[in-house]
Symmetry: C2
Subunit: 476 residues, 2 copies
């Protein structure tokens, strides 16, 4: 029985980059650099009749000149040359070819549409499988494959299936700022052969992947996607950002990946019936990635919020409530316990706990969060961080130790614990700002501790509410 065509790529014994150039960050040069710099284990063959040497490797005039069989071919040639290259790839026994080659059906031009058809016919006839065309292909750092030289070499448990290569880049480059790294990323473009369902199914079965993110413009096979999502979401969280929701977006998907966007309502129904989670934006996709990556199962919607001042507490309450969480009032028992512990504002403090009303050391964000963590009334904690005017850190402790004490993490992390750290749109020279440096330090510390953070309470609440629905669906 033949192996999965994606395994044929990840475990290829040899790879050829057709159209490789001696240097440069893009096109052939980029893919070649990706194999070399990320430590691809098999043999690497640059192919280009114009050159003899690239990045220290011998360049072959054509695929047919390579002395051994080639498992994996990356085609970076212009569309008019693609068919010839693919015929050679078949001759060389390639199991899978990735077509970076673009300007095919997505142009809407007869020539491109016809060429794409012929490419697919050749694949069907030969049995060689295709990724693309019009895509960036594979990033799998542990397997030594990358499509950009500046992607992290570090792996993580998040998988990504993206119809757009630039969006995949945006996600892979920005997610590490939230502590998120990737197992495998597939940019799959026009998807004439291998499509979203193949990649999602692969990640569902992949032990190195615990969360699956998707950016999909149009499903190539709706019924199969339905079955695949049902299978995958039952194994691990699957988050989908759908591109091309309205009329203009649908026009854009057609000229981007030759995709039929389909009705957006259908996608809502698809998610509801499979347990997949819909994200409304790239930002929300990353929020949900952080949530499923770092947060334990969210078992209820009753949230305790602490750490903000007056206005931010009011707005956090509004944001949580509009996202569907229950910002429950403090119970009498909770207040009596505050009183018993000498908290002078026991009668005044609420949920959200506005820490700016502190009169003395009897009240702290750590005490509030610990009490909420121990109280079965609360399912989830949100801690607003980075309010100016906090206590200075004790000398001699690492930032993680300070956080562990300040937020009483040994207790509070027994519940899902989300942190709020504001973003700022800095300009040149603004990074000398003390408050900004403090926010950066807070984020770095949270990443080290494995605590997910969000720029606003509302964004945390939306992610928590969606995670809760996911876990409820599967009764986890």
């Amino acid at each position: 029985m033949s192996r999965n065509p994606i395994d044929e790529v990840l475990h290829a014994k040899s790879a050829a980059v057709v159209g490789a150039t001696p240097s440069g960050n893009w096109g052939g040069g980029g893919f070649l650099a990706g194999l070399i710099q990320y430590g691809f284990k098999g043999n690497i063959y640059p192919v280009n009749p114009k050159y003899t040497e690239a990045m220290g490797l011998k360049v072959y005039p054509t695929l047919l000149d390579i002395p051994e069989q080639v498992d994996y071919v990356i085609s970076c040639v212009p569309a008019r040359l693609a068919l010839g290259i693919l015929e050679q790839a078949v001759q060389k026994g390639a199991k899978t070819t990735h077509l970076f080659t673009a300007r095919l059906a997505e142009t809407g031009r007869t020539e491109g549409i016809e060429t794409e058809k012929k490419i697919l016919e050749l694949a069907k006839k030969s049995g060689m499988r295709l990724i693309g065309p019009n895509c960036m292909g594979v990033y799998a750092p542990a397997h030594g494959i990358s499509f950009h030289a500046d992607f992290p070499k570090e792996s993580g448990p998040v998988g990504l299936v993206s119809q757009s290569g630039m969006l995949a880049r945006e996600i892979v480059k920005n997610a590490p700022f939230r502590g998120i790294y990737f197992s495998k990323v597939f940019s799959y473009g026009n998807a004439i052969d291998l499509n979203e369902s193949d990649f999602i199914r692969y990640l569902a079965d992949d032990p190195e992947t615990s969360v699956i993110l998707c950016y999909i413009e149009g499903a190539k096979d709706g019924p199969r996607l339905f079955k695949t999502l049902k299978y995958a979401a039952a194994k691990k969280p699957v988050v989908i950002l759908k591109g091309g929701r309205g009329q203009s977006g649908a026009r854009a998907t057609s000229s981007h990946t030759a995709s039929l966007a389909g009705s957006f309502n259908t996608w809502g129904a698809l998610a509801a019936q499979t347990g997949a989670v819909m994200a409304d934006s790239v930002e929300e996709l990353i929020d949900l990635a952080a949530t499923f990556r770092f947060l334990p199962s969210v078992k209820g919607k009753r949230v305790g919020v602490a750490g903000g001042a007056g206005g931010s507490s009011v707005l956090a309450a509004d944001g949580c409530e509009s996202a569907g969480l229950d910002v429950i009032p403090l119970s009498d028992a909770f207040r009596q316990s505050l009183k018993a512990q000498g908290v002078s504002v026991w009668d005044w403090i609420g949920n959200p706990a506005d820490l700016s009303i502190r009169e003395d050391e009897s009240l702290s964000v750590g005490l509030m969060l610990e009490m909420m963590a121990r109280d079965p009334d609360f399912d989830l904690l949100i801690s607003i961080m980075g309010m100016p005017g906090g206590a200075p850190p004790k000398p001699g402790l690492t930032p993680e130790e300070i956080f562990r004490q300040q937020y009483r993490l040994d207790v509070t992390r027994n519940k899902p614990f989300m942190a709020i750290v504001a973003d700022k749109s800095l300009g040149v020279g603004d990074d000398i700002d003390f408050e900004w440096k403090m926010l950066c330090q807070t984020r770095t510390t949270l990443i080290k501790l494995g605590i997910p953070f969000y720029p606003t309470a509302q964004r945390a609440a939306i992610a928590a509410a969606k995670a809760f629905e996911y876990y409820r669906y599967f009764n986890r």
Copy 2:
């Protein structure tokens, strides 16, 4: 006829800070520092029986010891001492007193509620007006008044009326990252005397203010607020963020500023009938501030988008459409003009214009935007900036000159022109990232050029759609 009590503060000939301390950034020290460091023109009198000298000034034991009449008093004393201080302020002829003093009705405790009542009775009887209690008071850099020592000394045409002092701080500190500076900011807390309507009315008549922002938890006088908003919005844009929308938010407003939050639906109706613009979050409030501050009147909803890659173009289309803008297709005439200018992808490029499909120099973001600017079909332009892989800047030009050429600003700025520049949640050391530095440079250049920018196309679109509704309401 007596002057407006807010003018009595801004043009006070003498100010006393009761409870001033010799140093420190908060409480009495902060307000004293605000007057001294921001160049308050009148005489400044620190008052505190515990000290004799503060920040180089003589400290008076009581208000009554000050040798001259005192126009403006800032009370930083604990609640139990407030009434006595106010009686002295009346004796000294104070026109207006700002009560930083808190822990009154917002505590929900009988004692605080009673004291607050007596304070108001005294004010009514004496004619002395009050700002607060439980608030930060006034920031008016051109008048030498500030409630934080790290606020900008630079003035701008935006006014802010905020029931929350910490939220006022957040807005004043973050808005400059978007190029926004303030004329006057009023943090007004429990608002037992001067309330939201007084401050909004003042800013409506203030020639130094062209946009009014508000954060309101509860209206003290609904019918008056209705009249005030109708008056103010007809003169200049008024943007309102309502805090305390749901049940839990309403509880939080009560313990924050002793406010009755009221039904949020009422606020929607209030905005619809007065022409005020509702913001849904602090981020949107600042987006709208940038929009009304920098964008010319938005006269229609037909938007042209250019500069993104494939996926970001699709998502920008979705974001614009969901915000209510019309992302119109390119007309035949537009395409013919592209063709006539030698653009090879004239048949393929769309709106949004995905610049990643460029085959050669015949297509550029500047050309697309210029053609959209000249085409009467488009009311508004959105330019997605900061995509990696752009052309390197020409040597010898300033960043502003490069932008002026690259985006053909002499033509394109004749239409409302919005820029999209992504945010990133950086951690320690991440600021060495080249792409991040490029984004910072882009933001700084846009601020210098007076072009508003937004982290996502959807946020720009929401702001543009709301601005359009504002201008349509007043037929501008």
